[in-house]
Amino acid sequence: MSTDRVTVSQVPFTVIGGFLGAGKTSLINHLLASAEQRYAVLVNDFGALNIDAQLIREHQGDTIALANGCICCSLAAGFSKGLGQVLDNLQSFDHVIVEASGIADPARIQDIARIEPRLETRGNPVMLDARQLMQQAQDPHIGSLIHQQIAAADLLIVNKYGLLSDTERRTLTHFLEQLSEAPLLYTDWGKVDADQLLGLIPRTHASDPLVAEATNHGLFNQVISAPEPVNFGTFTAWAETLSDDILRGKGLVRFTDKTGVWLWQKVGTQWRLTEYNNDISVTGYELLLIGKRKESLPCCSIE
């Protein structure tokens, strides 16, 4: 049987993750509008079947057939049934795409392709809402799900990026780098190149203690920033008095009594400063902190 797994011709299988409002629907629409291949798109977020009217050839029940040979179907009648129908007609498609809901673990859906010999496992892109991500990550109801989605991603697509300030962009990047080694892709309006999205090689996902902490107990984040530089001694004293609950810290800082821009990184109780590119548009400091308890995060500027 193991030999069967490689000899049959395979159709690639991609699971797109991401939370409600991240922009998955515009991503799918963008993909379908520029399709040169025949996609089968399974939408796991019920009722999210908002396909551009110009693309539609016919609409039958939960299935939409598109003029370019693609189909889109909601998993309304249950996941098993919808996916079963696609597998029964697999020869009609060049690529199967599942749009997973924000509460599903994309990796668990991807397991279907690991089992089915006619499917080929591809990496999972996960879409994030640039404006809401930091808030969502510490929401008591969905925070752990956001962390799991980030951890399961093989590509992180940060949508609505254009709406952020420079500082917000940098802290968001620092935040995601703490949680995942997946490449980051910044975009607006869900515009992502199909090859980039669908050609991903699956990464091996090492288990991360930070993600485990987020899953079991939740994590909180805080950005401390000011436009003015800070005295080096004051900064060191501040960094030393941070609570042990603060598990990670990362950010850029300028000092009143030291030249250049410095990258500050904290893991557990250890922290260090390294010289950074001086050209960057930082005038003061912008520091991201991730901690176990909201009360342990400093709320104001460095004094």
Binding site: G78, S80, S101, R108, D111, I115, H141, S144, N216
Partner: protein, 552 residues
């Protein structure tokens, strides 16, 4: 219908009607109650007297306000549950308590299948209660039943499946795979146990998706048989798909005189967009008649406590398990509740953990402030962990609660030891709190999760006794009359059917449960053992199926 006009005489009639709590005579005409009271009070009606219930006790027909028609389908498959259970024909299937018993039953079922390709499907396997934990139904054991026929065994929890080697091969599951939920032994060999979506999808695709919740006329008929056997005259499907085919099955079942049950179906809101869902409900409402009640909607917020998928507030699970899973993103749940509420739809909302309850209370508080609606009667379903403060909020927001008291017996010991710990287990399914705070109360079985049997559910709420005999929360016990109310009028109230069924009053449907004994006279610990003669639906008696002695 005039031929059904008559007067039933009974040893006693418990009416749940405050003007006449107990009676001996009830007159029926055109399927409705014409009069209830004493022999003298019947004198004015020149009707034939029916003495067949002269030694029986009549109650309003029981109302199962949270069940699933799927329990009618489940008996197509082989029963492997730990407890004795009765099938629609009234036959008792003894509980399966070890591997030897399970294999004997599976071998008998295998011998009955003529086509060697037909899958053998079994349900309600519950190994957590087996004493020999080293001897379970792994694929090697199942291979002793058949090496060629696919065999699939569903666990009682609904989350785990066991299969034989033939089915593993047909589903392309082998040892070389490394996917979540494909359980292997210490030597890396497959055990046949499947725990996650992908592996279960692979085997269900081979055997054709049993028990996924779609109904046909036969399933509804079997459901009605199970109901009649336990005195239920109105039963719900609280997760209905109301597509054209299913809707037609409900209409056919309601139209059939051979199916003595009033059906209530709440639409499963997960499979449709909100817009489509509201449209479907408007269509479904037009199909309503005296035996078919449609128009409400079911939402599921979290999972179940015994499988650690319910969402718990601090301090979480007693055994430190990670918090459970939302069934929908909370933001989407808020949108669904708001839009269905604004469309005038009644909502039945599944919440098991207390964090899920809190989320829904927060959402409804906002929604009701923006869009107040008199008598919305939104009902929290299961709601097993609600705190005193949450009951106070439910009362303020005008919510009803339908508690899952059967859990106290079936999983009470596990809840106390593992899931929520002894302190919180004492107030699980807090029926006394609901009554104390004036929250309208119903009690349910969630059949087939636990067996459909209102007298057993009443026993659970009254005695709060676990399988091991421990009393779980003396303070939350309710009285027998309170429990009977919760299973008749209380249940009907949560379905907005309390003006039609649930008590014996003039003008209501002539639906009765016919019991061999008086639940107010037997000892409280014996109410579950009262025999049920059958039911009366719209004035017509229906005998419970009789158990025949047989070997399984």
């Amino acid at each position: 219908m005039s031929e059904t006009a008559k007067i039933f005489v009974a040893r006693k009639i418990l009416t749940l009607n405050p003007d006449c709590p107990e009676a001996t005579h009830v007159a029926v005409r055109e399927g409705r109650i014409l009069a209830v009271g004493t022999a003298e009070e019947m004198a004015g009606w020149n009707l034939p007297v029916d003495h067949q219930f002269a030694d029986k006790v009549l109650l309003p027909g029981f109302v199962e306000a949270h069940g699933h028609a799927m329990c009618g389908e489940s008996w197509r498959y082989t029963y492997l549950g730990f407890d004795d259970q009765y099938d629609p024909a009234g036959q008792c299937w003894p509980g399966v308590q070890n591997r030897q018993q399970a294999l004997v039953r599976l071998q008998a079922a295998d011998a009955k299948l003529t086509d060697p390709k037909t899958p053998l499907i079994a349900w309600h396997y519950d190994p957590i209660f087996w004493s020999e934990q080293g001897q379970l139904l792994d694929c090697h054991a199942l291979d002793r039943v058949s090496k060629t026929r696919p065999i699939l065994v569903m666990h009682a929890s609904g989350h785990v499946i066991n299969v034989n080697s033939a089915l593993l091969a047909m589903a392309n599951l082998d040892e070389s795979l490394s996917v979540e939920g494909l359980i292997k032994d210490a030597n890396g060999r497959l055990t046949g146990e499947l725990r996650d979506l992908a592996t279960q999808f692979a085997v269900l695709r081979v055997v054709g998706n049993p028990l996924i919740g779609e109904v046909d006329l036969d399933i509804l008929q079997q459901y009605a048989r199970l109901a009649t056997n336990v005195g239920v005259t109105t039963a719900s499907e609280l997760y209905a798909s109301l597509d054209d085919e299913s809707l037609q099955s409900y209409r056919d079942a309601a139209a059939s005189d051979a199916i003595p049950l009033r059906f209530y179906a709440a639409q499963n809101a997960e499979t449709l967009s909100i817009e489509q869902g509201i449209e479907r409900l408007q269509l479904a409402r037009r199909a309503c008649n005296e035996k078919l009640h449609l128009g409400s909607c079911k939402l599921i917020v979290d999972g179940s406590i015994q499988s650690f998928t319910a969402r718990l507030a601090w301090p979480g699970y007693h055994n430190q398990a990670a918090n459970g899973a939302w069934k929908q993103p909370p933001q989407l749940m808020a949108q669904m509740i708001r839009e269905y509420h604004q469309a005038g739809v009644q909502l039945h909302i599944h919440v098991n953990g207390d964090q899920a309850t809190e989320l829904v209370l927060d959402i409804l508080e906002d929604v009701l402030a923006d869009a107040p609606r008199a008598d919305h009667r939104h009902t929290l379903q299961h709601c097993q962990m609600a705190s005193e403060a949450q009951y106070r909020r439910m009362a303020r927001l005008g919510l009803c609660v339908n508690l899952f008291s059967n859990h106290l017996y079936y999983w009470g010991d596990q809840h106390s030891a593992l899931t929520v710990g002894p302190a919180r287990a004492k107030r699980m399914n807090a029926a006394a709190s609901a009554l104390r705070h004036g929250v309208p109360l119903a009690i349910h079985s969630d059949a087939p999760v636990t067996p459909l049997n209102p007298l057993f559910s009443a026993w659970c709420a009254v005695n709060r006794t676990t399988r091991s005999g421990m009393i779980l929360g003396e303070a939350q016990k309710i009285t027998v009359p309170q429990a009977l109310h919760a299973l008749t009028l209380g249940a009907a109230y949560t379905l907005k059917l309390d003006h039609l069924v649930g008590s014996i009053e003039v003008g209501k449907f002539a639906d009765f449960a016919v019991l061999e004994d008086d639940p107010l006279k037997v000892a409280a610990q014996d109410i579950k053992d009262i025999s049920v003669w059958g039911t009366v639906l719209a004035g017509v008696p229906h005998r419970a199926a009789k158990e025949q002695a047989s070997e399984h």
